[in-house]
Symmetry: C3
């Protein structure tokens, strides 16, 4: 009990601080500061360098700040899109035809993306039946012997019946059970069927949320008026916050030609970056749009280039038999990709950083000690000042002195 109290008293009423050797030497003193300076310079220097390689280099202090002193959270997002535009086409197969949103946006709505059909191969009035395959090296035949009944290749339109029939006057191909006539997609229309899509517009509504900070915001900023929204078109320089995009401009911003892309289709990424520093005003938390082509373009390793898919409209004729119009739709899918991180001051990372920072500065002392005690010619002199040798027996040499 008494011991306990003594310990407590000692704990409370005694203050221990390390004993220091203070070497009054310009050389050593300056060296010490120099080393400390170097460490600092090194870190800051790398900060700077690192900041520069960032996409948008923020001021150094911000950079350091956001790194070490903030709690971060990733964005949670919701997107809706709406396309506008009408065009007409005039072809032998379809005649004069008007195309509006309901015709060229397929499916009618998606969550984070929108597909605009720019080109198509249409095969009308298909019915279930038997007809010759398209001629290619696997389907062309001389006699039934060349056709294996029931077989079906990766690119075949149906199941072979085993018969070899005339495809046209000259060529014979294996007959297949399929939707007849089979689609002929050997030639993609050029220029694109709906090339006018270049002038269609796309409205993107984006609502983001940072759960950890319970902070939410929309890409239609509070200071934007309805009048402005009705007329504006996004432009990186003049209208960076207008959420309405001209399709042609999106593709060009990504460094591609809309008319080329329209022929075989492709994927365009509309990237919305919501990096925010919530220690500053929320009005500074703004969307940054960028555009990138997402489908591969290099021709030498490229299966099914561009972007297309098949869908059918089903009809039933008088007899109730089902007919369909098969459409191979080429077009551009616009993926709205929302990403970003929000940072906000948080005490824990701050403390961790300060702690480590202090520890780091200790390095300077260690380095200097090494130099002073091992490299300098007065090292022995300094050493005996710093160290007090205690032998493992009562008659310690340096031991007695302090008594």
């Amino acid at each position: 009990m008494a011991g306990c109290c003594a310990a407590l008293a000692a704990f409370l009423f005694e203050y221990d601080t390390p004993r220091i050797v203070l070497i009054r030497s310009r050389k050593v003193g300056l060296m010490n500061r120099a080393v400390q300076l170097l460490i600092l310079a090194y870190v800051i220097g790398l900060y700077t360098h690192f900041a520069e390689v960032e996409m948008e280099p923020p001021p150094k202090w911000v950079f350091v700040w956001e790194k070490g002193y903030q709690e971060t959270d990733s964005v949670v997002s919701s997107v809706t899109t709406k396309a506008k535009g009408v065009t007409v086409t005039n072809t032998s197969t379809l005649g004069f035809r008007v195309w509006d949103v309901a015709d060229y946006v397929i499916p009618a709505q998606e969550e984070n993306s929108l597909f605009v059909m720019t080109n198509m191969i249409i095969t009308m009035n298909q019915t279930q039946g038997f007809c010759p395959e398209l001629p290619d090296k696997t389907t062309v035949c001389k006699s039934d012997a060349n056709c294996v009944a029931g077989s079906s290749g990766t690119h075949s339109n149906g199941i072979a019946t085993g018969r070899c029939v005339l495809f046209n006057g000259t060529v014979k191909t294996c007959e297949v059970a399929a939707w007849c006539p089979v689609e002929d997609d050997t030639h993609v229309p050029e220029p694109a069927f709906l090339k006018a899509a270049e002038n269609f517009t796309l409205l993107v509504k984006n609502n983001i949320w940072y759960p950890k900070f319970n902070f939410s915001k929309r890409n239609i900023l509070p200071n934007i008026t309805t009048a402005y929204l009705k007329s504006c078109i996004y432009d990186a320089v003049t209208d960076p916050f207008c959420p309405i995009f001209r399709l042609g401009k999106i593709v060009e911003s990504a460094g591609h030609s809309f008319q080329d892309m329209a022929i075989e289709g492709g994927i365009m990424g509309i990237q919305i970056n919501w990096d925010c520093n919530l220690d500053r005003s929320s009005s500074l938390c703004l969307p940054r749009y960028s555009f990138r082509r997402l489908d591969t373009r290099d021709v030498d390793h490229n299966v099914s280039p561009g972007y297309n898919f098949r869908f059918a409209k089903y009809f039933s004729d008088l007899t109730g038999a089902e007919r369909r119009t098969l459409i191979k739709a080429y077009g551009i899918r616009f993926d709205i990709i929302v990403f970003g991180k929000a940072g906000k001051f948080d005490i824990i990372p701050t403390m961790i950083n300060i702690g480590s920072g202090l520890a780091l500065l200790g390095v300077a002392t260690v380095l200097c000690d090494v130099i002073v005690l091992y490299c300098m010619k007065k090292r022995f002199y300094y050493r005996e000042k710093k160290y007090k040798y205690v032998e493992d027996y009562e008659q310690g040499l340096g031991g007695e002195m302090d008594q």
Copy 2:
């Protein structure tokens, strides 16, 4: 070689520990503890404050624990939805009609969301042709001179032919090549066409995975019985883990009126939060549902309020000519937004934190030294106890003493 051995011996058989001045002074001692206490209080205090601003403040120790000692991973999720409900409508245009899932869920399936049509503007039997535009300030005309052939505005339904024709007895508008008759969406039906959708139910199946910890779980908890699932409806208080939601309740939970929302449509976020501490039993890792309206409501800057899109059903008549029924579908899109972080003990962040913590406590000593050695009147006395001055020449004042 010999030197090497000596060095090794020294490294192994010598133990160096800093020399300490132990000041037996209540004032200084207490001050020291006080400062240390303050640092602690400061940190803890901020922890507490911070914990409070969190959405769901966990116990302090948990909070600290999860922050500093855990490795974290973000959720990977997969969602499926299924709506149920039937209703009837009786209108002049459509007559008596039953609506089931296949009619009002468009498209039939989506990945993370489900659209329920609550209101619609239907334009039946549209065919390709020429007809007068809807009257508005841009389309009303006196003579053909007012209509520019080939022109097409943002909101026009087709391409102007350049003729000015009668829209009805009194008004003349520019003629357009379009799907005729053009849709008249000036008046949105009120109350909503499918207002009964309020009582439809939505089953949400969610499967989550934390790749780093290879931990996966479903929102249909193991202890839930099929019987319960067949009957239950989600309620924040009574049935917080029932994955079946009444549409009306979802909207109300977000503080909005379903009937209002049903008219012009909108986006509802069904947020599933999977924050888990995997150091505790996995049965404590539970989904937390919350609801939020995601589309903007402020009327003063709002293009195309609510949520709607157009789609068409295509028919072909006897002559094979294509007709379509255009539907402008207003409705509520339910986005299932899954987010969350899992934390699990990991040695590396732990070590980093302990290390920094130790370094931090060093601050107390530094502060006290400053006070003791620079502010107290006995400072010179204390200083000479703490410091040993070593001049840069053999006749060190304090130097000789220790010899």
Copy 3:
């Protein structure tokens, strides 16, 4: 002013380093090193253990490296899919029928997933009208008294009219206003209608991006030739980087039977892991595919097992009256789940780690001091060497000595 200069001079030209007691004692010396060794071993040991529980244990040093010295970023991804395959069915209701992509992929395109119909319940030529409900415990009736007009249960196909009519020769059920005849989904076809889907193939194109490092890559690797892509099928061992998958193989890789799954449908996750260490060559940043079944299978708490949804094809007959073919589509939805983290050297985490590391080693000294000064029998001797007691008055006992 003068004081200022003095202070500056002191700051620049003085070097302070702590005074050390150097105890020449094998026991203590070895103990000290032992403790330090233990700390090290502990950390490393846990690293190792931890590395082992990881899915793919990387070399220890890599593991440590990636943990402590790197800035990380999460993946941003875009996916497109394309299915191929044709099959025929021959049933009493539909007769001989060919199924191609446009028939069994619904909807025609989705963003991160693809649904392949493997089974179906088809109800042809439904029209709006009145017909008896399917018999079940709630709908079977003796007289009109049993049927509540206007009522509609969760599973009913329409709104009850209140009449009790013959369902077939023997059973009477409540009449409903609905699409008639009502769908009878009591029996799911077995084996699956489109069981041949097992051999269909799925091409997955994935484009990933790490915004922070502005690093993007595709799952179709540069060194893959078009020839290879036209022929290859993914195999974990032989073709780990072929982006074309056989549906059957996907399900089997997840440890399930395709034919079982095809009957009631389900959700398959195609997981693409893009964990990359960007300090190494970008050619080492490769996709790793894995497969997992995402829908719950345990029968005892399972509403609507498997995966299915309803959609309809709408027709209009001569009179313009609308008819539809209702299809309850069972099938497998393939969700492409892309995840991963990229790490790249960054100075800030590095510094934090070094700092903490240094602080940690201090623990050894603290522990040893405790042992040396409190546990060893020579503790008093050692203590008086380490400590210098300073009483709070001029006549300090240990005080005088140093003067």
